[in-house]
């Protein structure tokens, strides 16, 4: 295991891989710092640039974006009080007060070094657990896979805060998208209404790009005022004693480890994402603290917990995608698409059949952290100025890159039409309060759910096998449990949500 890892570290240090990794990390830092541009959006923008690259170089760029994005959000969160990404929300609570108190360098670097350490601790988990989990998943038959995917979908749909019904309906609609076109067993066209456009079905990447990009851009446009952005960037010095900052973090080992574990756990669970990890770790740090009343006034514990957890979350998400082929969140959903484009089928066979690529991803993840530190040190002030670029310039550029991303998949306009169609659908989802995550997971897992269901029935028509086979039964039991838990939790939160009637966007 470690021999493969060291070999891959040597590979990724070659310029062929190091340059995409560095550019990806920089793009992630900038995208993460830009309020309104999420990491998912940054990955979507970077994706078409990886099409012509070697698979490992392309995936290294993606990993760089992911790691950089989680750290970039903290800069704007700390210096201007606006989280660059949802996964830096809790960083704002203490980062901004600390910066306003006259310690902007300490706020930014506490977050950056906590991200670095949390990320590296997460890397150990990623490297040590992915292969054993993948080997365990190799025992799965179609019954187990079907049940695992149902469990993932049930969990994600159940996590929808505003309406449980809409969460499940959203997931079901995502599954329907995969039914349109040729069936996977006999290639009979289904639900195409005689249309040539629908006959080939929808590739999931244009669907995903359309749904996420338009949902976000159009929601931003609804509230966009004409004229220059109002963001004022403080350009005071970020100089700080790095040893003192690192010691400040390492002198709180319990906080660091606990926040990292929370980040990892949230990352492993399908489609919850870094924002939940960030807020949950902050909340836990406050609960365990001897002085909880000081949280929110600019104390280091708040920044450390929030930032260590969201970078560890990346490692957790990578475990799920690499061991089971299930995206841990929206970002890994796009990464899964990128892997498929590069001819890789994520899942338990991936690490066994493609060890060079799998360990290359681990190596890229490890190396992205020191690269992130160096870029943060060199360029924090430079890319912070990009925050001031008008959205009138950014939005057309993003949309053009979305079109290229969709078109370049197989050089056909059909994918661009699909992008537009699902852009409209994505916006309607937001307007009607439907969560996007279950829909996307439905689109990603739909084919696999159908194939494994049909395969299981063709192997043995006894439907009880889904329950009587131990792993499958446990997965289905957990699915029922997660729905029941979600129902119980939903009843508790319904009263609270009724008070805030303002529509909310649930990405």
């Amino acid at each position: 295991m470690f021999a493969s890892l060291f070999g891959s570290l040597g590979d990724v240090l070659h310029l062929q891989y190091l340059i995409p990794l560095t550019i990806g990390t920089l793009a992630g830092l900038i995208g993460g710092a830009l309020p309104g541009v999420t990491i998912t959006m940054t990955i979507i923008i970077v994706l078409p640039f990886t099409f012509g690259l070697d698979p490992l170089a392309g995936l290294a760029a993606m990993v760089g974006v992911y790691v950089g994005g989680e750290s970039g959000g903290l800069v704007t969160a700390s210096l201007i009080g606006i989280p660059g990404t949802p996964s830096a929300v809790a960083t704002t609570f203490d980062g901004f007060p600390m910066a306003r108190r006259g310690e902007p360098g300490r706020a930014v670097w506490l977050g950056t070094w906590a991200s670095f350490i949390g990320g590296l601790l997460g890397a150990f988990f990623l490297i040590l657990t992915t292969e054993p989990l993948a080997r365990f998943a190799l025992r799965f038959g179609p019954w187990e896979y079907f049940s695992l995917f149902i469990f993932a979908l049930a969990m994600v749909a159940g996590l929808t805060e505003r309406s449980l019904l809409k969460g499940f309906l959203s997931g079901a609609l995502g599954l329907i998208v995969t039914v349109i076109g040729a069936d996977p067993i006999m290639a009979v066209p289904r639900l195409t209404m005689g249309s040539e456009f629908l006959r080939g079905g929808f590739q999931f990447l244009p669907v995903l790009i359309g749904i996420f990009a338009f949902a976000q851009i159009m929601t931003d446009l609804e509230h966009m005022a004409r004229g220059r952005p109002q963001v004022q960037v403080q350009t005071s010095s970020l100089a700080v004693s790095h040893l003192a900052v690192i010691w400040e973090i390492l002198s709180r080992p319990f906080l660091l480890l606990w926040s990292t574990l929370i980040g990892l756990w949230i990352g492993v669970l399908p489609a919850i994402g870094g924002s939940a990890a960030n807020v949950m770790a902050y909340d836990q740090a406050k609960k365990f603290s001897k002085h909880p009343e000081k949280f929110g006034t600019g104390i280091p514990e708040g920044i450390i917990a929030a930032e260590a957890s969201n970078n560890a979350n990346v490692a957790g998400s990578l475990v799920t995608i690499m061991a089971f082929g299930i995206p841990g969140d929206a970002v890994t959903a796009v990464m899964l698409g990128a892997m498929i484009i590069h001819g890789i089928q994520p899942g338990p066979l991936f690490i066994v059949q493609e060890p060079r690529l799998a360990y290359g991803i681990f190596a890229a993840y490890l190396l992205a952290h020191p690269i992130m530190i160096v870029l943060q040190w060199l360029l924090a002030h430079v890319y912070l100025r990009i925050v001031q670029v008008s959205k009138a310039i950014l939005i057309p550029l993003i949309l053009v890159l979305c079109v290229i991303g969709a078109y370049a998949l197989n050089n056909t306009m059909d994918n661009v039409y699909a992008l537009l169609l699902f852009g409209v659908i994505g916006y309607l989802f937001v307007k009607f309060g439907f969560p996007l995550a279950p829909f996307i997971l439905g689109v990603i897992l739909g084919d696999q759910i159908e194939i494994n269901l049909v395969r299981a029935i063709m192997t043995d028509a006894d439907p009880w096998l889904f329950i009587t086979r131990p792993i499958s039964g446990v997965m289905l039991g957990l699915s029922v449990l997660s729905v029941a838990l979600a129902l119980w939790q939903h009843r508790r939160t319904e009263a609270r949500l009724a008070e805030s009637a303002e529509p909310d966007v649930d990405f």
Partner: protein, 152 residues
């Protein structure tokens, strides 16, 4: 009176029932236990039930008098329209011409330029078009659409 949830539920119910009706025309093979209609029927039945439940829950739910925040739907519709025209023109005008027009047009729509700012709008449109074209075609070997009418 139905709210957003009820309307969405009705639309999903109608769509899933329509698709369910379409599955009746699918063949049933004699040699395998399940045909191409097997999985869609299960899925569409579940979707129809969930949609109906959403409509019913909307009808029985008490509603507050909350008023949504004012939003600029005109802006959104205009952006969708401009993007739609861009997508429609891509095969005819080709990537370079259509993208230049799109980036310039959308910028001018989102932030109305006056005087010298027109220069910036045109410069951004030109740089975006040329930079993306040369990076993708030249460096990344991604072929971008050629125009049927423009010839490039």
């Amino acid at each position: 009176m139905l709210s957003r949830d009820g309307i969405a539920g009705l639309a999903c119910l109608g769509g899933s029932l329509w698709f369910l009706a379409l599955t009746r025309g699918l063949p049933h093979p004699a040699l395998v236990p399940v045909g191409p209609a097997f999985y869609p029927r299960i899925l569409l039945t579940i979707t129809a039930l969930l949609s109906a439940a959403l409509v019913v829950s909307d009808l029985v739910r008490r509603r507050g008098a909350a008023r949504p925040a004012p939003v600029r739907y005109g802006f959104v519709l205009l952006t969708f329209a401009i993007f739609g025209v861009y997508v429609a023109l891509l095969p005819s005008l080709g990537y370079r011409v259509a993208t230049f027009l799109f980036v310039g047009g959308l910028q001018a729509t989102l932030e109305r330029p006056r005087g010298r700012r027109w220069g910036l709008v045109l410069a951004v449109a030109l740089v975006t078009t040329l930079a993306t074209y040369y990076v993708f075609e030249g460096y990344l070997s991604v072929l971008l659409p050629r125009g049927r009418l423009s010839g490039f």
